[in-house]
């Protein structure tokens, strides 16, 4: 029996599983950040940056940290 289809099939299954896992983890991050973006006054769609592998989290945090929140920020204690 030719092993090649089996190897290709297994590889595809592993890739599919990884993609699914990535989506699941991203979803766990997207739901709370969607709400944080909405409360900060931004569009919730910005939380979709979590779909970027590796740097997605940093992109989302940078947007929230270095922008002026349209819905207002807490007064800094000076």
């Amino acid at each position: 029996m030719d092993p090649l289809p089996w190897i290709l099939g297994a590889g595809a299954a592993v890739l599919f599983g990884l993609a699914l896992l990535h989506l699941l983890v991203a979803l766990l991050l997207i739901i709370p950040t969607w709400r944080i973006f909405r409360r900060a006054g931004f569009s919730g769609w910005l939380s979709m940056f979590h779909l970027l592998p590796v740097i997605g989290v940093l992109v989302v945090m940078a947007i929230l940290a270095f922008s002026t929140w349209p819905a207002g920020e807490a007064r800094r204690r000076d």
Binding site: P32, R35, L58, G72
Partner: protein
């Protein structure tokens, strides 16, 4: 500097080097984010750095959910006092000739100073609006004021009406009425979805393209 960075990179390995940079960045940004919500910055920093410990990333994930759904101190500070909310939208313009004028509201702590909004228009004209501290509601409009309850700011960028000012004792509230020019309170946008906001402690109010300074006299 370059030599130190290269030494660090070889010490940790490239992956560890980038992970360290990422952790420092994440901690700094988490500090800034939670401070904007009114939570002390070290809480965010601690939550981000928890990822480095043996606990792994599940605890920061849980903390992220808590942060998203908890009450933020920012919202508590910005909430308008109850007196501002009970005023119906059309309370001021309705004429009531059959009724005696309402008695002036008692002022707590005897602070009878007037509020004053002052600034300059693009035309160079100076605008000074005086607001009595007794309970009441005023409309800020870009057109000609049609009564004592309307305050005019003759500028095309100011809506007609643009916003509502609410006074109650020692407090002053501002509510945007969905104007196209927008309203900024100390640089932060005040939208119609935010309702009335206490601006007693605010300094700079921007209506459309008109900058006004809030003071008491």
């Amino acid at each position: 500097m370059g030599a130190e960075i290269a030494a660090l990179a070889s010490f940790f390995g490239l992956t560890g080097f980038f992970a360290t940079i990422g952790a420092v960045l994440a901690g700094w940004m988490a500090w800034r984010i939670v401070e904007k919500a009114g939570v002390p910055g070290w809480v965010g920093l601690g939550a981000a750095l928890l990822t480095l410990t043996g606990i792994g990333s599940i605890v920061p994930l849980i903390l992220l959910w808590v942060f998203a759904y908890m009450r933020w101190p920012r919202d508590e500070a910005a909430e308008a006092p109850a007196a501002f909310r009970v005023l119906p939208p059309a309370a001021a313009p309705v004429p009531q000739p059959m009724l005696a004028p309402p008695p002036p509201a008692a002022l707590p702590l005897g602070d009878r100073r007037r509020w004053q909004l002052s600034g300059s228009l693009l035309s160079g004209e100076r605008v000074v609006l005086a607001i009595e501290p007794a309970s009441g509601s005023y409309l800020l409009t870009g057109g000609t004021p049609a009564g004592a309850h309307e305050l005019g700011i003759a500028d095309p960028s100011v809506g007609r009406p643009h916003a509502r000012l609410l006074t109650s004792g020692t407090r002053l509230g501002l509510e945007d009425l969905g104007s196209a020019g927008g309203t900024l309170v100390d640089g932060a946008r005040l939208g119609p979805e935010h309702g009335a906001r206490d601006i007693s402690q605010a300094r700079a109010i921007r209506l459309g393209s008109v900058d006004l300074v809030l003071s008491r006299a």
